[in-house]
């Protein structure tokens, strides 16, 4: 999960806990950290191998923003297979167009309502972690 707002992170993790998925979530706080994680650089140089089964990506991130991360991921041979779900508060047409053009797998607008937000997170988690078959090597 690439998300800079800590409270949103907490809410999301609390929601995912219901399905016992919280432990399997790696949270990074901005685009740079996300790329470092994916490319085994910086503080993640020695992390255990394997791509994540899915990447929940917020678009509004400090330093390197979400679209840039998406672009780099989809350009990289080794990272291209990672399913990316953009999870953002923006429902601007231009963000949708840009994301889909770059090859995003899903685009979810963060519901304003808390309940709906929690439901969305839960359903996302269930789908990608449980129902969907992750790409090999995840």
């Amino acid at each position: 999960m690439v998300e800079d707002d800590p409270r949103d992170v907490e809410l999301s993790l609390t929601a995912l806990e219901e399905y016992n998925l919280a432990n399997e979530v790696v949270v990074v706080r901005d685009g740079e950290e996300a790329l470092n994680y994916l490319t085994y650089q910086g503080q993640y140089a020695a992390r255990p191998g394997g791509n994540p089964a899915v990447m929940l990506l917020d678009l509004k991130l400090p330093r390197i923003d979400g679209l840039e991360v998406l672009r780099r991921v989809k350009l990289d041979e080794k990272l291209r297979m990672i399913p990316v779900v953009v999870l953002t508060s923006s429902h601007e047409e231009k963000d949708l167009v840009a994301s889909y053009t770059l090859g995003v797998n899903a685009y979810v607008v963060k519901p304003v309502d808390f309940h709906q937000f929690v439901n969305a997170i839960k359903e996302l988690g269930v789908f990608w972690a449980v129902i969907n078959a992750p790409p090999p090597g995840s």
Binding site: R7, D8, L11, S90, V112, F114, H115, V118
Partner: protein, 546 residues
């Protein structure tokens, strides 16, 4: 002799009084008449006297008789002195005298009377002077004299005839010239009448004619302008090079363009100039007629308009920029405000869930208030955002079938009725012209209001219909028999977040009617409301017809 001469002069003058073949003498008027042209005494000029038009034919016959009469008379008058002289034994005078008479006749009366005169002279000569006297016999000795008489007379007659002919031609030419001159002066004076600027210059640019309009425009009187080079005098500034213009001008004979000139007082004028080329008989360029129209004012105004337009476009760009700023602001406000709101609601709920057991009733109530307030804030933000979007969004105007739209709005609103039995009275609505989505919102808001405020009624009735509009717009109304409102507060009804009822009586943010008003105003229409407390309310709005 003198007597006869003077007699003849008198004859001349009398004849001229009646004459018809002496137009050249027309100008000769007696000196005193020339000096006093307005003299009341009507003096006869030596020229033509206008006869009464009646009996023209008779007159003409009279004239002919007169002419021939005079011819005869002149012979007689020549004869008398001749006879007299004969008596006094002066010979060889008779022939010249008779010739004189014939010459006189020929000169003044024309070939016809001259012929008569010749005949009469011959007869007289033969009778009175040729032996045998007093008889009409012709002796061989007389024949030379008669022949000379006749041929000389004929010669004089011919001279006279030629002279007449030349005179006639000269007179004709002169008349024609006079007419032409009169026409030309009339044309020139017409050219001078107009206030349009017209001047003529030759191929060396020297001005040859300068009309009054040119004097008025440029300030140079004709006397000063004629003879000068127009380019120097007016300090002409041409829009293209002179060579370009000349090429076009000499080819087509016309040129039109905007030219700058300088007036006599030094001020600049801009004129719309038209040139016409006049060619001489050999088809070579001879002169240029230039007609100019002062367009300085028009140009100045065009400049002004351009300036105003520029300003306008700058202003509208600034307006657009500020609109975009507002849009960005509204958007960021809504989104940035929503995140903490979500957190408030989220964590409050989590708190509620996790510590409801540890909270007492008061604590739980406070919890609930926190949650409700957060939720309400969310609704307010949403409403505000939607309201601002109305102002920013582009209207897409098309013909809209209100009947169909009403059905859609009704189906949306039905969800709010909660199974209540509402008496709907839907009248036929016409087609109007406007933005479909926005008008749908108007109907939804008004209907949902009607549904909401008829909740306390046991038999709620809601009516939708068309009222009398005018030629350009139609008026739609939504009437309910619900809670109504006090007309005292009708002005507040459409205000943003204004509510006339307590929140616990009827929920709502107070933005529904404000939205309706905003939308209708964007369509150029009006909204209106009437209400009676506890009896109901009617809301009217007008939309343009198709």
């Amino acid at each position: 002799m003198a007597a006869s001469v003077s007699l003849i002069e008198v004859l001349l003058h009398c004849k001229e009084g009646f004459g018809n073949a002496k137009p050249l003498r027309e100008e000769r008027i007696p000196f005193d008449q020339a000096a006093h042209p307005d003299s009341p005494k009507r003096r006869y000029t030596w020229g033509r006297r206008i006869h009464a038009p009646a009996n023209l034919l008779l007159q003409r016959n009279m004239l002919i008789i007169r002419r021939y009469g005079f011819a005869a008379l002149s012979v007689v008058l020549a004869l008398l002195p001749a006879l007299l002289l004969q008596h006094y034994k002066f010979h060889d005078v008779e022939l010249p005298l008779l010739l004189f008479a014939t010459a006189f006749t020929a000169w003044h009366f024309g070939p016809g009377p001259a012929a008569l005169s010749i005949v009469l002279s011959s007869l007289c000569f033969d009778y009175f002077f040729a032996p045998p006297l007093y008889s009409f016999t012709v002796t061989p000795a007389d024949i030379p004299a008669i022949v000379v008489l006749i041929s000389f007379a004929a010669l004089i007659t011919r001279f006279a005839a030629v002279r007449r002919r030349i005179e006639g031609e000269l007179v004709q030419a002169r008349d024609k010239l006079q007419l032409e001159v009169a026409e030309r002066t009339q044309q020139a004076s017409l050219l001078n009448l107009t206030h349009d600027t017209i001047f003529v210059r030759d191929m060396n640019d020297v001005i040859t004619y300068w009309n009054r309009g040119a004097e008025e425009l440029y300030g140079w009187p004709a006397a000063e302008a004629v003879g000068k080079s127009s380019r120097d005098l007016l300090r002409t500034v041409l829009p293209k090079t002179i060579d370009d213009i000349s090429a076009e001008f000499l080819q087509t004979g016309r040129w039109e363009g905007e030219v700058k000139h300088v007036k006599a007082d030094g001020s600049e004028v801009e004129v719309s100039s038209r040139w016409s080329l006049r060619r001489d008989e050999e088809n070579k360029p001879a002169a240029v007629l230039e007609t100019n129209n002062d367009i300085t004012d028009r140009k100045r105004r065009e400049e002004q308009i351009r300036g105003l337009n520029q300003e306008l476009s700058k202003r509208s760009m600034a307006l657009e920029a500020s609109n975009k700023e507002l849009e960005a602001f509204a958007y960021s406000v809504s989104h940035d405000l929503r995140a903490p709101l979500r957190h408030m609601v989220g964590f409050a709920e989590l708190l509620q869930k996790s510590s409801s057991s540890r909270l007492d009733d008061k604590g739980q109530r406070y919890m609930r208030i926190i949650l409700d307030s957060a939720k309400r804030m969310g609704i307010l933000i949403d409403d505000l955002l939607a309201f601002s979007r109305i102002g920013r969004a582009e209207t897409q105007k098309t013909p809209v079938n209100l009947d169909l739209l009403l059905k859609e709005a009704l189906s949306e609103v039905q969800l709010e009725t909660n199974g209540r039995d509402i008496g709907w009275k839907i009248n036929k609505l016409p087609v109007c012209y406007g933005d479909r989505a926005m008008l749908r919102l108007v109907l939804v808001n008004l209907l949902s209001n009607a549904v909401k405020f008829t909740r306390p009624q046991s038999k709620p009735e809601i009516e939708v219909g068309c009222a009398d509009g005018n030629t350009d717009e139609l008026v739609v109304f939504v009437r309910d028999n619900g809670a109504g409102f006090d007309m005292k507060y009708v002005d507040k009804l459409f205000g943003v977040f204004q509510r006339l009822h307590h929140a616990d009586a009827f929920e709502g943010t107070g933005i529904g009617l404000a939205t309706v008003q905003r939308i209708i105003h964007r369509h150029g229409g009006k909204v209106r409301a009437e209400g009676v407390i506890d009896r109901g309310a009617t809301f009217y709005f007008s939309v343009p017809k198709v």
